[in-house]
């Protein structure tokens, strides 16, 4: 616990340094959202993101397989017809719910793909913030056991 706190202080220090060195933009350093990444439930993360209760929207597409052959690498993408300024990927049953979040300046397409780890079969949420309002898409991704298991 103590160690974790120290590590967090260290992140902040590092971000401060990097920001002043111009390596990571100031906006980003300020926004690195500790509370959101430590959230243990959907509600925790929604709250930390200032999303309260996002509405499901057909304008948001979560691009992911129905079954992952391996939970260590699950491809997940978000695209939307909305003018997205921020996006986030949440995995309901992971130890930390928030997997990643993205900030899209004007001129960047509302599209992102990455790969995440999933400990077990779970609902995965794609959140999109556009014009200050959060919307989302949900999909269950099954994680299977594979190989000989030895």
């Amino acid at each position: 616990m103590n160690q974790q706190r120290r590590a967090l202080i260290k992140y902040s220090a590092v971000f401060g340094l990097m920001a002043s060195a111009g390596l990571i933009s100031v906006a980003q350093a300020e926004e690195w959202n500790k509370a959101a990444f430590e959230g243990k439930s959907l509600d925790d993360v929604f709250k930390s993101l200032g999303a309260s209760s996002p509405d499901k929207s057909s304008a948001v597409t979560l691009n992911a397989p129905d079954i992952a052959e391996n939970g260590a690498v699950v491809p997940v993408g978000i695209s939307t017809t909305l003018k997205a300024e921020q996006m986030a990927i949440l995995v309901e049953k992971n130890p930390s719910t928030l997997a990643a979040q993205f900030f899209l300046p004007a001129g960047t397409e509302p599209f992102v793909t990455t790969r995440i780890k999933m400990g077990q079969t779970s609902n995965v949420y794609a959140l999109v913030k556009a014009d200050g309002k959060w919307s989302m898409a949900v999909k269950e991704i099954k994680v299977t056991l594979g190989g000989c298991g030895g």
Partner: protein
């Protein structure tokens, strides 16, 4: 005659069970797995290994402070393009049939003065084997799209193939497994993973043509030596020595069976 017909009857019965017992659900699952694989195909982390492998190939190293650029992988000194498509191969200077890793050990020894034993004894993914992984990634990337074209014209190559075939069917260990237990029939799976039938050209090309590969489950790039090592581990065999003849013989059996197929390395595997 009776035992054979009994055997045949049982075989037919079980094939009916297998064929009709496969639910539509299993088929859907297989389709979904195919979709998953398609989605991760873009952005193979093997590229990260390949990048550092190219550097290592061109960087002076070892007691002789030499690069590997004069290494003869079978197509002449320094020829990297397509080299992995003709291995394993007989080499006159060592009087041995060698696969990619054992040949690279020869080059490191002769050109750079790096003794092979240290590489053989190192843990996978660590020390000199880490460098070896990267160099292998670099070499095999430069055979991508080439046709597998392995020769058994030399008597030693022919002999290696025959030994590899025998090793493929060799059962042992507390599970009674041979390579053929899993890779000797078509249309088989372990869990949801398709098992290539290495005794056929098509299956051998699926196996040989896609390894070395980045393995998603371990998050590591695996050379064929490591792939075979883990096969033997799962077979509950003792530990195959890195670059030993049984590993080269099995590679020869797979590669020769795969002739005409396409090299798709580095692959991306579960």
């Amino acid at each position: 005659m009776a035992p054979v017909s009994a055997l045949l009857k049982r075989c037919l019965m079980s094939s009916l069970l297998i064929a009709f017992g496969q639910s539509a659900f299993a088929q859907t699952a297989a389709d979904d797995i195919a979709k998953y694989r398609e989605m991760i195909a873009d952005g193979n982390p093997s590229e990260l290994y390949e990048m550092s492998g190219e550097e290592l190939w061109k960087k002076p190293a070892g007691p002789k402070n030499a690069t590997l650029e004069k290494c003869d992988l079978g197509l002449g000194p320094g020829v990297v393009d397509g080299a992995a498509a003709v291995l394993p191969k007989y080499f006159k200077d060592t009087n041995r049939v060698q696969d990619l890793e054992s040949r690279l050990m020869t080059c490191m020894d002769k050109l750079q003065g790096i003794p092979s034993q240290g590489i053989i004894d190192a843990k996978f993914g660590a020390g000199p084997k880490k460098d070896m992984d990267a160099i292998v990634a670099y070499i095999v990337t430069h055979s991508k799209g080439k046709k597998i074209n392995v020769s058994t014209a030399h008597p030693k190559e022919k002999e290696m193939y025959a030994m590899g075939k025998r090793a493929f069917f060799f059962q042992g260990g507390p599970f009674d497994f041979s390579c053929a237990s899993c890779h000797g029939a078509s249309g088989k799976r372990i869990r949801l993973q398709d098992l290539p039938n290495i005794t056929t050209q098509e299956g051998a090309a699926l196996g040989w043509g896609y390894w070395p590969a980045y393995r998603v489950s371990s998050g590591q790039f695996w050379t064929m030596q490591q792939r075979l090592n883990d096969c033997f581990r799962q077979q509950r065999f003792p530990f195959p020595i890195y670059g030993s003849d049984v590993t080269i013989a099995l590679s020869m059996y797979m590669a020769k069976n795969a002739n005409g197929g396409m090299i798709q390395t580095p692959g991306l595997k579960r």
